[in-house]
Amino acid sequence: MDIIISNILSPQFIYTILRVSTPLVFAAMAALVVRKSGIMCIAFEAMMLFAALGGVVGSAYTQNLFVGIVAGILSSVLIAVIFAYFVLVLKSNPVLTGLALNILGSGGTVFALFVLTGNKGTSSSLRSLRFPVVNIPIIEDIPVIGQIFSGHNSLTYVSLFTVLAVYILIYKTTLGLRIRSVGENPHAAESVGIKVVRTKVIALMIGGIIASFGGMYMSMGYLPFFTRDMVSGRGFIGIAAQNLGGGVPIYTLIAALFFGSADAISNVFQTLRIPAEFMQMLPYVVTIIGLMFVGSSNKDSKEKTKKIKEIKGETT
């Protein structure tokens, strides 16, 4: 018990939280961009899985990390484009399409893995590359801060920069403004000459690119190989973090880190004689409770607008 407490209070543990949260941050940021454009997309699991496999295969066959990254991004964007085609052009139900793509992601990656390596469980026979670990020069020598922030996989830093990039994209660029307007009121946006479908497709593709880094982190950073279904619900947790953060990049980051901490704590506490199922439940319970708070605060604001309208004498 003492060891566990001292483990949790150590700077090493915050380092662990960042490591655990990285794929969640990517997934949440991807979800955020797509959500802003007003699309209900749950296909991030599939995007991440395909990117995880694509990156491994691309880097293994060319022995070039850059080619691996490109292959990973393309595999993820492919899923995003398929999703866009079905939902925006063929007008299929977005939730069902997302679900179908997730199932495709689970089975399709195993199929592709088998065709390429003859193995259905893992890509460990491929000599794939890994994103490098970065030691930040001056910071790494500062006692506590260095232990927390230095020595991470490069994609962990990329994930933090992504938050900033997404903020700038959404709030400071023309494209971001278009994405938001398309998401909030597509008819109004169309009336001022914004191409709604095209903007939504672009948002989905940006989401696909961000999600692909989450996937590649799983198979080329966190672990050095692809294993079947390795994303294991992280895409969904990302969507939950986006909802919990209310679609604001910094809050979404905090929510993703929060889920990451719940997961990290459950990992450490499992060795205590607390039932394993209880600890496995923890991250999801935290998710539900978090969503309850968001839901009730939304309800408050809805009632507020209703009251304002009543005062103004408008009917609702």
């Binding site: 259905k120 460990s124 672990l223 294991s232 060795t271 394993a276």
Partner: protein, 367 residues
């Protein structure tokens, strides 16, 4: 509309006639054996292991064998087994794993003339006597017992920089079920038989695929003083192997000789951290069953637990094992092996054990 209905029904009648007339295969010389694979061949693991035993037996004893792959589809289990049993074409049906237990047991009850061999699962002979079937199960608890003996001794050696001097070892399971707890209890019993003070940490991933979570769980155990972590979590086990490299500690593999597998794949760094693997010799068991079948010595109506005595399970004693495990510990493992074979040591099992009793073992683990 009506016309097409008539055509279709005529077509169906025709099919019935044609299939009804097809002659039964007359090749009585060669024994014919069909193997039902719940998933697919080519998984480089369980199914391939089974199939390698079957094909080896086919070559040695001149039997005809065929595999039917179900692709993990539960809706195909009953129909396939019924069809195979009904056809009367096969002298022996080999089926296995917990997934196929229900369907195979039903087929064995409904077709008493068809012979069955079930592997890696136990038929419930208290419910029905199954005079036409035999089940064989590798005793995972016995293999894990040896792993526990080895780990509890290895965690106390000095002069190995992958060993930290604390009497703590670890275990990462996939999901909490009877089979995984059978591994765990064997492991705990083995460790405690060496030194009751050795602490066994254990965690469950919650599934058999989340290799990243398995890695985090293993790292948490290494942080808490474990220096050898035993991974029993399907493909999520790869996360544990990776964690042992990162933590510069040892892991123990499962099902296959993982160190040799990684070495063959060119990943020697990884192989250097897998001290041994608990290997199920399913191929040997199935080979032996086919041999008995051909020779006519096979016994039906029984369940056989194939432990170390029947070579159903054991530690992978490869060059990594010989390099990392000192000779006196290897001798102790061999001695424990002999004690199990002679019946002097009976390894406890989670199969048929109440939840309270399982919890009692878990409580013991952390003492």
């Amino acid at each position: 509309m009506k016309k097409s209905a008539i055509i279709i029904s005529m077509f169906l009648v025709l099919i019935l006639l044609v299939t009804g007339c097809s002659p039964k295969p007359v090749d009585q010389e060669k024994k014919k054996i069909v193997v039902i694979i719940n998933t697919n061949l080519g998984d480089k693991a369980f199914s391939d292991l089974v199939w390698s035993g079957v094909t080896r037996a086919a070559e040695d004893f001149g039997v005809e064998v065929k595999a039917i792959e179900l692709g993990g589809d539960p809706t195909r289990q009953e129909p396939t087994l019924t069809e195979v049993s009904e056809s009367g074409e096969w002298d022996l049906v080999i089926s296995g794993t917990f997934n196929l237990l229900q369907a195979t047991a039903a087929a064995a009850r409904n077709y008493p003339d068809q012979k069955f061999v079930l592997y890696d699962v136990a038929l419930d002979f208290t419910q029905h006597n199954y005079p036409n079937a035999v089940s064989i199960l590798s005793k995972q608890n016995e293999g894990s017992y040896l792993a526990g003996v080895m780990a509890a001794k290895l965690t106390q050696v000095t002069g190995d920089d992958k060993i930290n001097g604390q009497k703590v070892i670890g275990f990462v399971g996939g999901g909490e079920n009877t089979a995984i707890n059978d591994f765990l209890i064997g492991y705990i019993a083995g460790a405690k038989s060496v030194d009751p003070e050795v602490k066994v940490l254990f965690s469950y991933v919650g599934n058999f695929t989340d290799s990243a979570k398995a890695k985090e769980l293993a790292l948490a155990q290494y942080d808490q003083g474990a220096d050898i972590v035993y991974a029993v979590a399907g493909s999520a086990s790869y996360g544990v192997y990776e964690a042992s490299v990162l933590a510069k500690r040892y892991s123990i593999g499962v099902d296959q000789d993982r160190a040799l597998q990684f070495e063959a794949e060119g990943n020697v760094t990884q192989a250097n951290h897998i001290v041994t693997s608990v290997v199920k010799h399913l191929d040997v068991l199935i080979y032996n069953k086919i041999k008995e079948f051909v020779e006519g010595t096979i016994q039906y109506g029984v369940h056989q637990g194939a432990g170390i005595a029947l070579n159903g399970m054991g530690l992978a004693k490869n060059k990594f094992y010989e390099q990392f495990v000192p000779a006196d510990i290897r001798a102790a493992v061999d001695a424990a092996e002999q004690k199990i074979i002679s019946g002097e040591v009976v390894v406890p099992t989670a199969i048929g054990l109440s939840t309270e009793a399982v919890n009692e073992w878990k409580r013991k683990a952390s003492e």
